[in-house]
């Protein structure tokens, strides 16, 4: 989701040259703009105050026991349906999916990056439930994304609105590539199949072409012009593409970047180089770095990479188990951070733990993920209007520092992924237990 950052930063404020005063002014203007949204749709005041009040009550009376996972009552299937419905409602007729629903301004403009990497989630849900709606939504999303691809093969950063620019973005191209590869795999009997692969290869070729010799991505197409270790998500996409294209350049580009990321893993498990000037290291980005590394390691069959991802994942697992929560941001070496919860990062960590359980068989990962999912289900709004019900808030409480007052599409994506993984892996675990008599 870094694209939201990228747009606000690159369009409204050049991060390399801006002073902190300009940055504050930009943020103030944005906040006023958002607040003015209530004047355009005053009916949103009710849901805004309702959410503010419920989070205030929860944080006051329930905070210590928020993660008392045993108390969650929503079945996984119901929560999953609810979250996927939120995504489907956020999809516009042309196929693009809104970035977020703001309690102040309503639905945002469409977001290519998230539309791209929601595609695998929609296909997974369609397969799991047999629901053709989700599959159809994935196809429409793919069609919309193909219309945005630049001649270079890159995809643009930021949101798509009337004033959209067309700056190519490494990260967003990588995230969209995930969706294109999956769309190719899912449509292997269809006529558009060849075109989708061709477009995905073009995106992969562009990523490989502009990659630095050390494996990182910097320059105009990288956020703030700097290299970031959370671009391991791009490596993951390239590894996925390599599996389908059989082009060694894509695999080599993925390996080069992941080797560069591995050089940033500290003895504490902290992955240096998230490198977001002007922003703290939100759990969302930390989890990106871990998740991209892990998934790339699994696809490339590299145990060193999996081990490197398992290290910070285990540190965060211990923190979650000990303190019953993860912080919304962390300082280097996980030394502390802001006390709100970044729910998207939590859902991503659940995905990471579940995949580590799948890879290693260590039940402690499954245990932590089950608790995390319980907590996330517990916070899902089960009542309210479209945009709210089934939505994953940027922060808990809703006024926390990460995407305040918003229900965000990528949060829903990661929670849906986590719930589907939970369903699959717990079923497999129980079946294995029944069959062998040995857990």
């Amino acid at each position: 989701m870094s694209g939201r950052f990228e747009r606000t930063q690159t369009q409204m404020n050049s991060p390399e040259s801006s002073s902190s005063r300009n940055f504050m002014a930009t943020r103030t203007v944005r906040a006023l703009n958002e607040a003015a949204g209530l004047l355009r749709a005053p009916q949103r005041v009710v849901q805004l105050f309702s959410k503010l009040a419920s989070d205030e009550l929860r944080t006051t009376f329930e905070h210590r026991h928020l993660y008392s996972y045993a108390a969650a009552t929503i079945p996984v299937a119901d929560a999953l349906r609810s979250v996927v419905d939120w995504i489907l409602h956020a999809q516009r007729p042309d196929g693009g999916i809104a970035a977020y629903y703001s309690l102040l301004t309503g639905y945002s403009e469409l977001y290519p990056e998230v539309t791209g990497y929601i595609i695998p989630t929609l296909y997974d849900f369609g397969r799991l439930t047999g629901d053709p709606t989700a599959r159809h939504a994935a196809e429409r999303a793919t069609h919309w994304l193909l219309s945005l691809q630049m001649p270079s093969g890159a995809f643009p950063g930021g949101l798509r609105g009337p004033d959209s620019d067309a700056q190519p973005s490494v990260f967003n191209t990588g995230q969209i590539l995930q969706g294109l590869v999956r769309a190719f795999v899912e449509t292997h009997t269809e006529t558009r199949n060849a075109e989708i692969l061709e477009r995905a290869v073009a995106a992969g070729d562009w990523l490989a072409a502009i990659q630095q010799a050390d494996g990182s991505w910097t320059g105009h197409a990288a956020y703030q012009g700097a290299a970031h270790t959370y671009y391991s998500m791009v490596s993951w996409a390239l590894a996925q593409l390599a599996a389908e294209s059989s082009d060694p350049r894509h695999a080599a580009a993925a390996d080069r970047n992941i080797d560069w990321v591995l050089a940033h893993v500290q003895p504490s498990g902290w992955i240096d180089g998230i490198n977001l000037r002007g922003h703290p290291a939100y759990l969302h980005f930390i989890a990106y770095a871990i998740q991209g590394t892990l998934e790339c390691g699994i696809l490339r069959r590299r145990d060193d990479v999996i081990q490197a991802a398992a290290k910070p994942a285990w540190v965060l697992l211990r923190k979650f188990e000990t303190h019953k929560r993860l912080l919304g941001t962390y300082e280097p070496d996980f030394r502390g951070g802001q006390r709100f919860s970044c729910l998207t990062g939590n859902a991503q960590m659940s995905c990471v733990w579940l995949r580590l359980f799948e890879v290693t068989g260590d039940l402690r990962y499954l245990n932590a993920a089950l608790k995390m999912n319980e907590m996330l289900k517990h916070l899902l709004p089960i009542k309210g209007r479209r945009g709210v019900v089934g939505g994953v808030a940027g922060s808990y409480p809703i006024w926390g520092a990460y995407q305040p007052m918003r229900f965000i599409s990528w949060g829903c994506k990661f929670l849906a992924d986590a719930l589907m993984l939970e369903q699959r892996l717990t079923r497999e675990f129980e079946a294995k237990f029944e069959a062998s008599g040995c857990a």
């Binding site: 008392s68 045993a70 188990e321 402690r364 499954l366 245990n367 608790k371 129980e430 040995c438």
Partner: protein, 275 residues
């Protein structure tokens, strides 16, 4: 041997049973340091552990001493032997203390300066931990020999929380370890390590825990006597470089562990006994 007791509540059955059992064997505690009975977090934890019905039942048993049927009731039936006293059972630490003549001191935190000062005043050779806070160095180093803990799993294989349940799921034989506490979680030197043989008779995880707690108390008594006679010595844990810490088990996994217990799928390794 001067033995002190560290307790999570004046009504902790385990704390009462350990104190009473040691006193029955001639090791009357020099004092017991307990956390208060009714702080909010304990209450919520107990409600979570026992449920509303059992918690109410327990509270009534504590508050209605005139009813003889309740007087005789204990939550863990396997502790009855240690808790039996005349025609009734000990209902709290203060009753045990009155009977055997040792002081009970309540403190808000077992690591507080007040608690440390009290322990130092008793000058114990050994302390037995039956529940409470995570102990810090300033408390751990007060007793001359150290502080003993009964851990409901074989160490070092399974450290931390929900240890019987994790033993069942991970295919590690059920067992109990008596060890000295150090600043890590269940990482201190081992005195006794014994496989638990009674699991086949258990019909639930709660039943299993109750039986293991009762056996742990017998092992504590054995360890105290062994230390007193000089017949046992602590052995540092091997394999500490491996992270064997486990955390509270989710209900969904507990259900699998319960099935495993009921189906009698238990591991046993010959020769896993005293360490």
């Amino acid at each position: 041997m001067r033995v002190a007791i560290l307790c999570s509540s004046p009504y902790s059955e385990t704390g009462c049973a350990v104190s009473a059992r040691l006193a029955q064997l001639g090791y009357v505690p020099v004092g017991a340091l307990t956390l208060p009975s009714w702080d909010r977090s304990t209450l919520l934890r107990k409600l979570g552990q026992w449920g509303l019905r059992d918690s109410l039942h327990y509270a009534i048993a504590k508050l209605a001493p005139g009813k003889s049927t309740l007087r005789k009731q204990v939550l863990n039936p396997y502790l009855e032997r240690a808790l039996r006293h005349g025609d009734g059972v000990f209902r709290g630490l203060r009753e045990v203390a009155r009977t055997y003549g040792f002081p009970v001191v309540t403190c808000g935190d077992q690591n507080s300066p007040r608690a440390v000062a009290q322990l130092k005043q008793w000058s114990p050779d050994l302390a037995i931990f039956t529940g409470g806070n995570i102990l810090r160095d300033q408390v751990l180093k007060v007793p001359r020999l150290g502080i003993l803990n009964s851990h409901l799993a074989l160490l070092p294989e399974i450290r931390g929380m929900s240890s019987p349940e994790w033993s069942l799921l991970c295919g590690v034989p059920l067992g109990i370890t008596i060890h000295f506490m150090d600043s890590g979680i269940d990482t201190g030197p081992i005195l006794l390590r014994r496989e638990f043989a009674g699991a086949a008779d258990c019909d639930s995880l709660a039943d299993l825990r109750n039986r293991m707690i009762a056996e742990g108390i017998e092992l504590i008594a054995e360890a105290v006597a062994g230390l007193d006679r000089g017949t046992i010595a602590p052995v540092p844990q091997a394999g500490r470089e491996k992270d064997c810490q486990f955390f509270v088990m989710h209900e969904q996994l507990k259900a699998v562990a319960t099935r495993r217990l009921k189906e009698g799928r238990l591991n046993s390794v010959a020769g896993r006994s005293d360490g």
